[in-house]
Amino acid sequence: MNNVSESKRAVALPSWLLQGVTISYILLVVLFALAAAINPHYASWDNIRNLLQIGAFIGVIAVGQTLVIITGQIDLSVPWNLTFSAILMATLISHGTSTPVAIAAALASGTLVGMFNSIGTAIFRIHSLVWTLGTNALMQGATLVYTHAQPPKVDVPPFIRALGAGNLWGIPVPLMVWIVAAIFALVILHQTRFGRYLYAIGNNESALFLSGVDSRKVYLGAYAISGFCAALAGIMLTGYSSQTYLGMGSDYLLVPVAAVIIGGTNIMGGSGGYLGSISGAMIVVLLQSVLSTVQIQEAGKNIIFGSIIIVLLLLYGREKLSTH
């Protein structure tokens, strides 16, 4: 029995305005305006394009990370999965393999590593925070063994360069890749059965299983996509810096996770979506960009970055008080 009485509502604002996603976009705009007020050049197309280009790497990784986090898990194997895939591709190219085949191999490698992640999570039921970290260590080892810590000498083919750093009609190609990935993510999450299952796992895996869905396959899919996205980001980064090197993934351990959560997706799973992750990625990139050029000590930058994340989440990331 629900005695829903509209007059009793405490807040008069429309509910969509109060959602995390909306607030995160508002905050993005506010932050951007602040940055532009401090340095007018921030509002230039040149700068925006730069932010979008760099944001694309986090954004692409966040596609997989969002899917995984919606199931209530996390993927911490991104850094070395990304690096290994990129180096694998570069090695193949340096041995004369054609670009499409090398790219396919990188994507396949990333996807396979993702699938390996799902084994620990779905079959052995080891918390992904630890299992994927183990995978990350494993992939670091694999990279070092594979390359003896010397990534291949390679002339990065123009197509891959374009993926990471090209411009088409004045628009960065990485941004286009991101847009495609974002559409993919939004369709997956909101239009497909698989997407529905992702949310269901995050809310109540037993209920999904008892509804006749093999939740292990859903995990498999989510992690495979996350691995695929890591590899794709690796390819784009190879293009961006026209080389592969061992430290490629070092920025992508926790930052994409932060982007997803700032975008309003619940780290416990079951709610949120990619729309928020887009603004989350942009907020993170904007903060990093502003802080990297502001002339204060690194110490101060760290403190400010951490504090802003907390303030953002205090504004809209709070859990509801519940008696349940």
């Binding site: 084994i119 970290l133 080892g141 003896h148 037993s206 299983f209 939740s215 780290i267 416990m268």
Partner: protein, 319 residues
């Protein structure tokens, strides 16, 4: 003592024993007083960091700032300790206080800000690292050698580091877990709503759990200071995720309610010794990383392999 609770530590205990035997087989010198002390000291920092992680994990949270708190307290201790014993003592107390305060701040934001612990502590990881850099912009500092020896030396086969760990466990961990607060910490992690209706203040319990976590992290920082006789603001990085690994390897459940100190402590020593064993067995450095990752993954999987044989599907899904 409910023996059943200690079953979860079995993997770590057995793993550690086997690893120690293997180590002694490959490198018999390790059975000397020096070898024992060295092995004990190697894992003590991580063991203390694992306690810091465990107390938070018991409430159902996770603390990604453990490493930053270890680094921060290391920086503080080594920067201000000087040479005078009285001042050194004051600085140790001050360092413990600083770590505890850092944990308290984590707790405040998690419990009263009602934000997911993982993201709160990720943010404070940046903040505490930043403060560490302010305290000590580059590695350095010094500590009295008496202090270093008191924590890292040994009396025959008995390493002081192990005694330090046992003292921390005996003076802080056990009383905490034997107090109402400790009971509340486990109850909150086990059944949050149940704890609430039983009259436990969930927020206050979380606050003090994170605070205790800060205290244990500071203990780790102090031991690390004794071991390195210096301060280095970036030194703590590896302890964050390793402490989570040690805790899970030690049988505690991320999600809360389950875990005893024995497992994570043994897990910490296991993870720390692993690299030495790999070195002793002459594995090429490129393979050392690979083997480390592979062993972690295989041992975790082996510990959970029974899940493949479970009869009820539902048992698989609820941990």
């Amino acid at each position: 003592m409910i023996i059943e609770r200690y079953y979860s530590s079995l993997t770590a205990v057995i793993g550690l024993v086997l690893l120690a035997i293997l180590f002694a087989y490959i490198q018999p010198m390790i059975l000397s007083p020096f070898g024992v002390t060295m092995s004990a000291n190697q894992g003590t920092t991580l063991a203390l960091a694992a306690l810091a992680q465990l107390v938070v994990v018991l409430t159902g949270g996770v603390d990604l700032s453990v490493g930053a708190m270890v680094g921060l307290t290391n920086a503080i201790a080594a920067t201000y300790m000087g040479t005078h014993p009285a001042i050194a003592t004051l600085v140790i107390i001050g360092t413990l206080f600083a770590g505890t305060l850092a944990g308290f701040v984590n707790g405040l934001i998690v419990a009263y800000g009602r934000i997911q612990p993982i993201i709160v502590t990720l943010a404070t990881l940046y903040i505490y690292t930043g403060i560490g850099l302010v305290v000590r912009p580059q590695p350095g500092g010094s500590v009295p050698s008496g202090f270093a020896n008191a924590l890292t030396g040994s009396w025959g086969y008995l390493p002081y580091g192990l005694i330090f760990l046992l003292v921390v466990v005996g003076v802080a961990w056990v009383p905490l877990m034997r107090s109402r607060l400790g009971r509340a910490i486990k109850a909150v992690g086990d059944n949050r709503n149940g704890a609430r209706v039983s009259g436990i203040s969930v927020a206050r319990t979380e606050l003090w759990a994170y605070t205790a976590g800060g205290f244990f992290a500071a203990c780790a920082g102090i031991f690390l200071t004794a071991q390195t006789t210096s301060g280095d603001p970036t030194i703590g990085t590896s302890y964050t995720l390793n402490s989570v690994a040690a805790v899970v390897f030690g049988g505690a459940v991320l999600g809360g309610g389950r875990g005893v100190a024995l497992g994570p402590i043994c897990g910490a020593y296991f993870l720390s010794l692993l690299i030495s064993v790999l070195f002793a067995s002459g594995v090429s450095p490129f393979y050392q990383n690979l083997l480390q990752g592979a062993i972690l993954v295989i041992v975790l999987a082996a510990a959970n392999v029974w899940r493949l044989r479970t009869r009820h599907w539902l048992n698989v899904m609820s941990n």
